[in-house]
């Protein structure tokens, strides 16, 4: 059957319009639900740095929201460690909506750095841990995560990592709690107070429990592990000014 050009064009136009309307309609209807799901996912990741994954899995969505609201305070700082209220255009910033991935593309001095403060229920002064987002490159694509520091601002309380496209079973293992728990208890500063960060070593299965800056590596995923190291080191240096401020505040409070 041979149709005229006019028929082909009319058919294509009508089809495009119908499908287009269908898609934009669905997207419009679902957007608020998707946004909520995305926010909840971010909250889960943030809480993942200070809670066991099984605990989070057993919580209902509303419970996570409520827990997050009562236990997490947030602010945004710049590279100097100063609190930022609004971005360059003058729009107010909110730590939950700062896109760390987008900021990663800017120069470190121009980025916004969110800080999430895990505190006792209802009392923001009683800090349990500072949760800092980190972002970097793995082997194939971006990796990111949250790193929780105890109130000494050096000891790691916990970490959580995610990735966009690391190899399943190799680099993708950074998302497993078994790998993430290896970071717990390590310190990013040495006794003299200079930044050492923590780094995953080459090879796997060795015991680094007596070295506070070394973490057992990922066999077969050295590049991903190095990406994790670089990511943590660079972000800890970007947050250093803020961390130092916090340390000074604490010393003044003690004296």
């Amino acid at each position: 059957m041979q149709q005229s050009n006019a028929y082909v064009i009319t058919f294509s136009v009508i089809l495009t319009v119908i499908l287009g309307l269908l898609l934009s309609g669905t997207s419009e209807v679902l957007r608020p639900i998707q946004k909520k799901a995305e926010e909840l996912d971010t909250k889960k990741q943030i809480l993942g740095a200070v809670m066991q994954p099984s605990e989070i899995r057993n919580m209902k969505d509303e419970e996570i929201e409520a827990f997050y609201d009562s236990r997490i305070a947030s602010k945004v700082v710049n590279i100097e460690g100063e609190e930022v209220e609004e971005d360059k255009d003058g729009t107010p910033v909110n730590a939950e909506t700062v896109d760390v991935g987008k900021n990663y593309k800017r120069a470190p001095e121009d980025r916004l750095y969110p800080v999430f403060i895990y505190h006792e229920d209802g009392n923001e002064e009683e800090v349990i841990a500072y949760i800092l987002p980190v972002y970097g490159n793995g082997l194939w694509d971006n990796i990111w995560g949250y790193l929780a520091l105890q109130t000494d601002l050096s000891t790691i309380e916990g970490v959580t990592f995610s990735h966009a496209g690391e190899t399943p079973g190799l680099g993708a293992r950074i998302t497993s709690s078994d790998v993430q728990s290896r970071f717990t208890g390590k310190t990013i500063y040495d006794e003299g107070g200079s930044l050492q960060s923590v780094s995953m070593q080459k090879g796997e299965g060795r015991d680094y429990s007596d070295d506070p800056h070394k973490v057992d590596g990922l066999s077969g995923a050295t590049i991903t592990a190095e990406g994790v190291n670089k990511m943590i080191r660079s972000y800890m240096s970007h947050y250093e000014a803020y961390l130092n401020r916090k340390k000074d505040e604490k010393e003044i409070a003690l004296n």
């Binding site: 059957m1 028929y7 089809l15 495009t16 269908l22 679902l30 799901a37 996912d41 496209g165 079973g169």
Partner: protein
């Protein structure tokens, strides 16, 4: 699947010729074994390798493919007299892409964890040769109801294979099924000394090739199918 066959039998009693005649039943049953899209036609291999490390994402993928294939076959079959021959491939692609995007959007809204894990692969349903193959070979020349059955059968043939592959890959690779640690439970029964080791090979795509190869081998030995 057993409940489905039971339902079908009931329907046959009520309305044998119209709803599920022998010919129509063959539309569903043929792609399951004798003309399976993966093991016989060797289509849709890429997604079969990629998503099958765990049962749960595989199940979501299977359901998505069933939805997309049934709806795409229905749409194309309804439009089959209207679609201009010269642009039919693009029309098919547009319909498939729309359906796949819908699935992706729904997953993003209601199953965000699955969306994160699967979004790339759900998008790849568009290029899954099975879907377009059925549109081109069947839906363009058959009535809507037959096309729906055909799409359902082919998608089911795809689904049970990827679920079978995922079953062995998750069991042997991660020692669990649907995330439930089976190997640990087994060790629990026999005591601490009895440990089942997981095989890292199963987690990589190589594992899927091996399992798939074994399934094809067993199947062809049984059916006596030989490639010509």
């Amino acid at each position: 699947m057993s409940t489905e066959t039971a339902e079908k039998k009931e329907e046959i009693k009520k309305d044998a010729e119209a709803l599920l005649s022998k010919r129509r039943k063959k539309l569903i049953s043929d792609p399951l074994v004798d003309d399976n899209p993966i093991t016989i036609q060797v289509l849709g291999i890429c997604s079969a390798l990629a998503v099958t490390t765990q049962m749960q994402p595989t199940l979501v993928m299977a359901l998505s493919v069933i939805f997309v294939m049934v709806m795409a076959n229905l749409t194309i079959s309804l439009l089959r007299d209207k679609i201009p021959t010269r642009v039919r491939i693009i029309v098919q692609l547009a319909v498939i892409a729309t359906l796949v995007t819908l699935v992706n959007e729904v997953l993003k809204a209601f199953a965000f964890d699955m969306y994160k894990e699967l979004s790339v692969f759900v998008g790849l349903i568009i290029t899954n040769c099975i879907v377009m193959g059925r549109l081109e070979a069947f839906a363009l020349g058959n009535k809507p109801y037959d096309s729906v059955l055909d799409g359902f059968g082919s998608a089911l043939g795809y689904s049970w294979i990827i679920l079978a592959v995922a079953f062995f890959r998750e069991l042997w690779g991660s020692g669990s099924l649907f995330g439930v640690p089976i190997f640990d439970a087994v060790s629990g029964i026999f005591g601490e000394d009895f440990q089942l080791a997981t095989n890292g090979l199963m987690v990589t795509p190589v594992g899927a090739f091996i399992i798939l190869g074994l399934i094809i081998w067993v199947q062809r030995t049984k059916t006596g199918y030989v490639e010509h």
